[in-house]
């Protein structure tokens, strides 16, 4: 199935795009999709999403079809259309 990954805030700049479509299996974890995205984008994107120990940053908000996902080890599931990665922003 095809899943759209959305990148918000500074992540869009680091990825060089605000979204991309990837092929995924319903049993794939959310983390595996995030990890693959970080590997593709590399550099700044990877550093914004994962900490020095390779763990997802606690500041990264991940949403699957409009619902925040806290435990990224869950499967993406069968009906998911898009996963959004949102780093915190504070412009005012």
């Amino acid at each position: 199935m095809t899943v759209r990954l959305n990148y918000r805030g500074q992540l869009a700049g680091a990825a060089g795009r605000s979204s991309e479509e990837v092929e995924a299996d319903p049993a794939d974890t959310v983390l595996s999709l995030v990890l693959a995205a970080a590997r593709r984008a590399g550099g700044e994107f990877e550093a914004m999403v994962f900490d020095g120990d390779g763990a997802p940053r606690r500041t990264l908000l991940v949403a699957s079809d409009g619902e925040q996902v806290v435990d990224l080890s869950v499967p993406v599931g069968e009906d998911v259309r898009e996963i959004t990665l949102m780093p915190p922003i504070a412009g005012g």
């Binding site: 918000r8 606690r58 500041t59 908000l61 409009g66 915190p88 504070a90 412009g91 005012g92």
Partner: protein
């Protein structure tokens, strides 16, 4: 109780379904605190004044610079070098002399946080630094005051309405400051003003008691595509340092 001036001034919004005289009276007797009067906080404060809040407290340290003028619409070119918060207060007072406007030429900090929040019925967070945002969040949780967290970056904006004890607080959502945030952010004034209006409306609805405030949700707008989303946030974290349950 509305005065004759109030009735005349707010005649058109008294007709908004669910708002009416009761909503107007609640705004009239309420104090809003707006931290940072930049491209977001300025238009937000203006809309609170337009709606008829009785008192607005503006918090912002620093003088107006030329590069503020692409977004800070309460300012004027001739005011460059003047205290920004005093300029903002002057604009609001000229617009609505009957509203009490207090200008605090300081940023939200440990020394003034508790006092500022204690005097407010609702707090609007428009600060460009996470340290200030987290401090404001902590004080609002301590004082059980509603907080409307408003932020933007480039063509995007986010508004998170927070009701301490009921919704996740800012620290539940972001347990620490992101290491990659930079004080200087890309901004077009129309985007910060757009986010300001969403934040102002959430606060107006909360205080006046009508409509549905998006508590427990993050309102996200992408002005590049004009896409609006509401992200349903996970429940309040029991282990949150700020609003979590006390250790047994």
């Amino acid at each position: 109780m509305l005065s004759d001036t109030d009735r005349a001034t707010y005649e058109w919004q008294l007709d908004v379904p669910g708002f009416g005289e009761a909503g107007q009276a609640k705004l009239r007797s309420s104090t809003a605190l707006v931290s940072r009067i930049g491209g977001l906080g300025g238009p937000l404060a203006m809309s609170l004044a337009a709606a008829g809040f009785g008192k607005i407290v503006l918090v912002h340290r620093g003088d107006l610079r030329e590069d503020d003028l692409n977004r800070q619409t309460l300012m004027a070119r001739g005011w460059i070098g003047r205290s920004r918060v005093e300029c903002a207060a002057e604009t609001l007072r000229r617009f609505k002399p009957e509203i009490e406007v207090e200008a605090v030429d300081a940023n939200f900090a440990e020394e003034n946080a508790a006092g500022l929040v204690a005097g407010a019925d609702i707090v609007f967070d428009c600060a460009p630094l996470f340290e200030e945002r987290f401090l404001m969040n902590r004080e609002c949780v301590r004082a059980a005051k509603p907080l409307i967290d408003c932020s933007m970056y480039a063509m995007e904006g986010q508004v998170i309405p927070i009701l301490p004890g009921r919704t996740p607080c800012l620290a539940c959502i972001y347990p620490e400051a992101p290491p990659h945030w930079r004080r200087r952010f890309p901004v077009i004034g129309a985007v910060s003003a757009l986010v300001a209006q969403i934040g102002a409306l959430e606060g107006i609805k909360q205080v006046a008691g009508f409509g549905e405030v998006a508590f427990g949700q993050l309102i996200a707008v992408d002005a590049a595509t004009m896409r609006f989303d509401k992200i349903r946030l996970a429940p309040r974290r029991a282990d949150c340092d700020i609003c979590g349950d006390p250790a047994p």
